[in-house]
Every structure is written in structure tokens, then in C-alpha cells.
């Protein structure tokens, strides 16, 4: 893939960070400000992306929604990566029964239809933003674990590991101080791609009305509220969807670019 696509991805990701961090300085209206006199008005100089059914400024809600959507993406991927790193490292390093148990657990988790699993958990818990982050994280660590295990299987035979063992470094020291740093590159790639995936999952959940709950704006729930007005107010449905598409694409392009840069074997 050409480098400029990866750069475009990086720019999208950086731009979104900027938007999320400086949200209060970018909007002229408050995201929760209700104006009954100005409902469902189309995009204009006053309201760049129009207003919703309560007269709230869609641009402001989208900018604040970026905070929510990005934080869900990051925390969920952080949880998934942490679980995947630890389980993958234990399975790859120790092998034997530990490997067997962890990898069978991975197989079982891969068999459960993830979306059914997430919805089932949300049915038993309340759909708060923290629960959603945790649930997405806990159901998406399996590919990281497989990746890390494969890295550990080859790295643990290397001389520097033998050297570390020879001078008496403990197993945990070898795993976390010596092997782990060398196994992080592919994990970084999968984490970057994972953020896109997590944002998609959160928005699907919000779309079904079981994600981040209104009035907190997330791109998914702006879209859900807008879909009832799609025939008279297209801007309510089109812009949040585009935001999700562009964001996820930014992370995917960046992730693929990183993969090409880190691993020339995967040259496509």
C-alpha cells in the first residue's frame, strides 16, 4: 500500500484527537442546549450540520460525541490488549497444560457469536458507558492472545532469552522485561486496527439503543435518534455515519501502514 494512504490515516487520527481534546473551543453552541424554536433546521452558517429534533446543534453534539466514541474505542482496546498480552505470553512461554487450557479458552470464545455475547451481557447489566467499554474489551482479546503466543513461541528460543535465564532472571522477569518488548510491534498494529473495530461495535450497540445512553452524545446514538427523521432531516443520519466511516477508515489505514512498515514479510 502506498505511504500516502498511511499518512492520510495518521492525519485523520491526529485530527480526531485534536477535535476530541479541544471540543469546547471548537463549538459555538452547547451540545445539550435545547431550542424548541429551531428544531430540525438544515445545515446553515449558524448550525453547520443543522439541528436535531430538540433543536440541539448537531455539529456540537458530533464534536462532543467524538470524545465518547474515541474513549470507548481506546479503553476497550486497552482492556483487550492487556488480557491478550498476559494470556498469550503465559501460553507461549510456558507451553504444556497452560498453553492447552488458554488456547482452548480462546477457541471457545471465538465460537460464541460476539455480538450475541455482548448483547446478552448488556441484557443482564445496565448499558452504562463503562460496562460497554469492559464488555467490548473482554470479548475481543482473542486475536491479540494468538498473536502474542506466536511471537513468544519463536522468541523464547532466542539466545538473549537463554542469556537472561543463565544469569538467573526469573520467569516473570524474562516474560515482561525481556520478551514482551520484542513482541509489541505486531500488537501495536492489531491494537490500531482494533480501535476502529471497537468504535464500530459501540456505534452498532448505540444504534440498537443499548449503547451509550442519551443525553450523552455518541455518534451511534445521534444516528439512532436521527433515523426516525431520515426522510425530512437527512443531516441527522448522514453526518454521524460519515464520521464513523472516516474514523474507522483512518485507524484501518494507519494500522495497515504500520503493518507494512514493521513487517516487510507481509508485503502485499
Amino acid at each position: 500500500m502506498s505511504d500516502w494512504l498511511a499518512v492520510a490515516g495518521a492525519l485523520i487520527v491526529a485530527g480526531l484527537f485534536f477535535v476530541a481534546v479541544f471540543a469546547p473551543f471548537l463549538v459555538q453552541h452547547k451540545p445539550e442546549f435545547i431550542n424548541a424554536k429551531d428544531i430540525l433546521s438544515p445545515p446553515s452558517a449558524e448550525h453547520w450540520l443543522g439541528t436535531d429534533d430538540l433543536g440541539r446543534d448537531v455539529f456540537a453534539r458530533m464534536v462532543y460525541g467524538a470524545r465518547i466514541s474515541l474513549s470507548v474505542g481506546f479503553v476497550a482496546v486497552g482492556i483487550a490488549t492487556a488480557i491478550g498480552l498476559v494470556l498469550g505470553a503465559l501460553a507461549g512461554y510456558f507451553g504444556g497444560w497452560m498453553d492447552e487450557i488458554i488456547m482452548r479458552f480462546v477457541d471457545i470464545m471465538l465460537t460464541l457469536p460476539t455480538f450475541f455475547l455482548i448483547l446478552a451481557v448488556i441484557a443482564f447489566l445496565s448499558p452504562s458507558i463503562y460496562n460497554i467499554m469492559i464488555v467490548i474489551g473482554v470479548t475481543s482479546w482473542m486475536s491479540v492472545a494468538r498473536l502474542v503466543r506466536a511471537e513468544f513461541l519463536s522468541l523464547k528460543e532466542r539466545d538473549f532469552v537463554n542469556a537472561a535465564r543463565a544469569i538467573g532472571v526469573s520467569d516473570m522477569g524474562i516474560i515482561f522485561r525481556h520478551i514482551m518488548p520484542n513482541a509489541l510491534a505486531p500488537v501495536l498494529v492489531s491494537a490500531t486496527l482494533g480501535v476502529g473495530g471497537a468504535i464500530l461495535t459501540e456505534s452498532s450497540l448505540s444504534f440498537l439503543g443499548i449503547g451509550v445512553q442519551p443525553p450523552t452524545p455518541s455518534w451511534g446514538n445521534i444516528l439512532t435518534q436521527g433515523k426516525d427523521y431520515i426522510e425530512i432531516a437527512w443531516w441527522l443520519s448522514v453526518f454521524p455515519g460519515l464520521a464513523i466511516l472516516i474514523t474507522v477508515m483512518g485507524y484501518n489505514l494507519l494500522g495497515e501502514g504500520l503493518r507494512d512498515a514493521i513487517d516487510p514479510r507481509l508485503y502485499r
Binding site: 482452548r104 460464541l112 455475547l117 448483547l119 441484557a123 464500530l200 456505534s203 464513523i244
Partner: protein, 324 residues
């Protein structure tokens, strides 16, 4: 071969037990369970359903007895009665909705196969051509697309503005009065959008995978050899290379099944299709716990068997592999 299938079958039972263990753990997230007294205040759950939940899953017994009692019921696919108004057995409710979901998923798989393999092969044989670039772009869009949003926009475009396709359900109001051909076309127009939307994400992944797999194969010595002995390019690609390149796709199909089944929840909700996905969504919204648990376990079992089928057929079509 037979030994491999037997061994693979023996793996199924532990996997099923694993699935039930994880599902059982989810029940314990519920309000009213001994470990989560805090969430008793959850306003979404009525006191009656908490009482029913306690009785149904024996939540007052020690945990291993709870699991054992629940497992005995799951073993005969008894998931209890639905908490909803009709209070029918969960299994009946799921089974009557299963055919349409399976139909849509099987059709999606067929669409994925029929479109992604030609795209992948052409991209590989014409690497870096315009076709390849456009296909790569399409793959990126497919990966990043919030399909529920795209599905919604297409529904409005084709269903409302252009008025070419029906927007919901599986059959029209006048379905019973149509000729056999009319009935068939009625199904087709209703299923066109749901099937293509549900295929979209995997389509992207599968085209990419076919391209990669094909690129690897056409660089191998036996392909060069086939060319060297003067076979036409067409024979080399479609007879010699394609067979080996498509084999790994079977495994990938198996891996994409959980995603497809999970996706049914979204598409059946958007297009009002009366399948298990929609049923599950209603169960989640209504906190109909027996139905939620039943659907989760049954869908996981189905995925498990689809995987088994894919593994066994992989072993059967690939003569190079000898399983000891």
C-alpha cells in the same frame, strides 16, 4: 482421515461444556443473583422477574449445584418458558424463527463466495492494475463501513425514494395471492438488501484473503512448472493455482460465521425480518432472560457445528493433509 474426524468430534463435547460455562457465568451478572445485590435497584427489571429468575436458575443453591441443575436442562435443550406475555417454551420460539435466519446467512455465504473469489483472483493476477487498486479501495470501505448505517441509507434510497424494493419483512401483504413465480420474486426483492448488507463486511475480508492466498500460490514452483510446459495462462491460473489458493478460504468461512450470525441481530432489526436475531434483540430489550440464555447457547452450538463441518470438509478436500 477417520481418526481425524473422530478426534475432532471428541473436541466438540469439551467445547460445548466451555460454552455453557461462559453462558452460565453471564446469568450471574444478573440483578438478584447473590453476588450482585447492588443491581437489585435496576429499574429495568421487575421484582417478579427477579423472583422467577431465582427460582428458574436455583440462585439460592451453592454455585456448582446451580450449574449442574442448569446443565442438566441445557443437555435436553430445555431453556424454560419465556418471560414475555405468551410464556411459551424458549426452544419453540427459537426454532420457529431459525429457518429464515439460516436462509439469509447461507445466501450471504454464497454471495461472499461468488463475488470475493473472482475479485481476489483478478486482483492477484493483475496485481497493481487499476482493477486491483479499485478492489483494494472497495476492501477498505467494506472494512470501515458501519454497515447498519449503510443498510439504513440503502433502505431509504431503494425502498422510499426510488420505491424499487420493499422496506421490511420477508413477504408482501398480498403474498398468498401471487403466482409461484411472483412468490419467488417477492422473496427475492425482500431478501436482496438484507443478504447483500450482511455479506458486505466479510466480502471485503474474503477478497483480500483470496488475493493474498493467490499471490502466494502463483509464485510457487509448480505454477512456474505448469507455465514452463506450455499450458495456457487460463489453465495455469484456474486449474492449477486456484484450487490450492481457495482451500484456506474454507477455514476463513468458518471463522466468519460467528460474525455473520451476530450481524443478523442488526439486519433483522433494521429490515424487520422475523428471525432469531430480531427475537434475540426483543429478548434483550425486554429482559427476557430465559430467551436470552437459550438463544446465546443455541447460536453458539450452531456456530460450533458449522466450524466442525468446515474443518471436516477441509480435511476431505485437501488430499495433501494427513491427519494422524
Amino acid at each position: 482421515m477417520r481418526a481425524y474426524i473422530v478426534r475432532r468430534l471428541m473436541m466438540v463435547l469439551p467445547m460445548m461444556i466451555g460454552i455453557t460455562l461462559i453462558s452460565f457465568a453471564i446469568i450471574h451478572l444478573a440483578p438478584g443473583s447473590p453476588t450482585q445485590a447492588m443491581t437489585d435497584l435496576n429499574p429495568n427489571v421487575s421484582p417478579e422477574s427477579i423472583v422467577k429468575l431465582r427460582q428458574m436458575y436455583h440462585l439460592d443453591e451453592p454455585i456448582y449445584i446451580q450449574y449442574w441443575l442448569w446443565l442438566k436442562k441445557v443437555a435436553v435443550l430445555d431453556f424454560g418458558d419465556s418471560f414475555s406475555q405468551d410464556a411459551r417454551p424458549v426452544l419453540d420460539k427459537i426454532l420457529e424463527r431459525l429457518p429464515i435466519t439460516l436462509l439469509i446467512n447461507i445466501l450471504s455465504l454464497a454471495v461472499i463466495f461468488l463475488i470475493s473469489i473472482p475479485i481476489g483472483v483478478l486482483s492477484a493476477t493483475h496485481q497493481y492494475s487499476y482493477f486491483d487498486r479499485i478492489a483494494s479501495l472497495f476492501v477498505f470501505f467494506g472494512f470501515s463501513m458501519p454497515t447498519f448505517w449503510f443498510a439504513l441509507l440503502l433502505m431509504i434510497l431503494f425502498g422510499v425514494w426510488l420505491d424499487w424494493l420493499p422496506i421490511s419483512g420477508v413477504v408482501s401483504m398480498n403474498h398468498a395471492n401471487l403466482s409461484p413465480y411472483g412468490k419467488f420474486m417477492d422473496y427475492c426483492t425482500h431478501l436482496l438488501l438484507p443478504v447483500s448488507m450482511s455479506a458486505l463486511t466479510s466480502l471485503a475480508g474474503m477478497s483480500r484473503f483470496t488475493r493474498q492466498s493467490m499471490l502466494e500460490v502463483i509464485r510457487q514452483d509448480y505454477v512456474t512448472c505448469a507455465r514452463a510446459k506450455g499450458l495456457s495462462e487460463r489453465t495455469v491460473i484456474y486449474k492449477h493455482a486456484l484450487k490450492n489458493a481457495t482451500l484456506p478460504i474454507i477455514t476463513l468461512i468458518a471463522l466468519s460465521i460467528p460474525g455473520l450470525i451476530g450481524g443478523s441481530v442488526i439486519f433483522e432489526t433494521i429490515y424487520s425480518i422475523p428471525g432469531t436475531g430480531q427475537l434475540f434483540y426483543q429478548a434483550v430489550m425486554g429482559r427476557d432472560y430465559p430467551l436470552v440464555m437459550g438463544s446465546l447457547v443455541i447460536m453458539a452450538f450452531l456456530t460450533l457445528f458449522a466450524n466442525l463441518l468446515a474443518d471436516v470438509s477441509y480435511a476431505m478436500v485437501d488430499p495433501r493433509i494427513h491427519y494422524e
